[in-house]
Subunit: 138 residues, 3 copies
C-alpha cells in the first residue's frame, strides 16, 4: 500500500471565492504513483470548503448569492460566535458546501464524471489557508 | 489490496426523484470479494447526489418540498447559470444533499446502521446518468 | 493492510446537542496501530451527523438557531414523515451538517488543521445512538 500527502496553499483576495484545484490534485496523484485507490481532498480550515461542481462563472455567482441568502454575513452581531470575529457565516456556508471530497483513482487517473471539477471554496479569505491531499492505494 | 469499480446507470423520469440503490451497492461489494475496506459511492454528475437516509415516502416528499424552498427551481431566470440551461437549482440541491458517501466494509458486508439506506438523488432527470462505486480493501 | 472498527455510543439528553469526539477518534486510532491511512467516522443513525468544525460554544448556539431556521421542528404536522414520529426536521438538519467525515492518518496521527475538531451532532436525542469509526491503512 502506498500513501502520499501534499498540502496546497491558497490566498484568496477578498472574503469569498472559488478556485478550481483539479489540476493540482491531478499533479499530486501523478507524484504519488498510485494507480488504484482513493484520494481525500479536504480543507484544513473550518471556514473553507472543498467540493465538486461545475467550472462555470454564472453558477459561481449563483452560489455566492444563494449562500449569502441561507447564511448572511450581515448583521455580524447576529451571531454569538462573532466576539472579536466576524466569520460565523463562513462556518455555516462551509457546512452547506462541505469540508471534503473523496475521489476514486482508476488506472492512475482521477475517476471523475465529464463535468466534475474539484474546487476550493473560500468563505473567510484574505489570508493563507491550506488544503490537504491524501492519497491511498497502490 | 483489492480494488473494484462499477458504474450504476439511472434514468429518472421527470425532473427529480430518489432511488434506493443499497442492494446494487451490496451486489458490487459481493462482486469485489472485499471483506474489509471502504466503498465510495458518488454521483458522476453535478446535478445529482448520493446520500444516506431513510427509505420512507413521507420523508422523501418532505425533502422535495424542503429543497424546493431552500433552492427553488422557479423563476428559472433568477439564476445566471441558466443561459441555455434551466438546472441551476439542481446544482444547489445537490450541495445540500451531498455528492458522495463512504461506507465501511466489515466482514464482507456494508457496515450500515439499522435504518441507513443509500440513495441516488436526481435533481435534473429525464436522461441517463451514472453513479460510481469504487471499492478498496482486501 | 490493517483495518480496525470501533463503535462510539452517545446518549445526548434533550433533542439536540453537539459532542466533541476528537479524543475518542484519536484513541481508536492508537488502538488500531495504523500509521498511514484513512479513518471514516460516520453516524449510524439518520437523524444525527458527524462533522468537523470549531469547538466554540457561541458557534454551536449559532448552528442551533440557524438549523432551526432552515429546517424548523415546528409545526411537527408540517412534515408528512411525522406520522407517529416528530423527527422529520432532524433528517433535514442532518443533511446540512453531513453524515460522515473522512480524515487522513499521517505518521500515526489524525491529520487535522489547527482548529479542526470532530463532532457528533445529535438532532433527535434522548436515547442511545452510535457512531462508527473505521480505520484503514498500515
Amino acid at each position: 500500500m502506498k500513501s502520499y500527502r501534499k498540502e496546497l496553499w491558497f490566498n484568496v483576495p477578498g472574503r469569498r471565492g472559488f478556485v478550481n484545484i483539479t489540476s493540482q490534485v491531478r499533479e499530486a496523484l501523478r507524484e504519488s504513483g498510485v494507480r488504484e485507490g482513493l484520494v481525500l481532498v479536504n480543507a484544513m480550515h473550518i471556514t473553507a470548503s472543498v467540493f465538486i461542481n461545475d467550472d462555470e462563472s454564472g453558477l459561481h455567482h449563483d452560489y455566492e448569492v444563494w449562500l449569502e441568502k441561507l447564511a448572511p454575513h450581515d448583521p455580524v452581531s447576529g451571531y454569538r460566535h462573532n466576539v472579536g470575529e466576524d466569520n460565523a457565516d463562513a462556518h455555516m456556508k462551509r457546512q452547506i458546501m462541505g469540508r471534503e471530497v473523496v475521489v476514486a483513482i482508476t488506472e492512475g487517473e482521477l475517476d471523475l464524471g465529464t463535468w466534475e471539477r474539484i474546487f476550493y471554496g473560500e468563505f473567510d479569505g484574505g489570508r493563507r489557508k491550506r488544503v490537504l491531499v491524501k492519497i491511498l492505494g497502490e
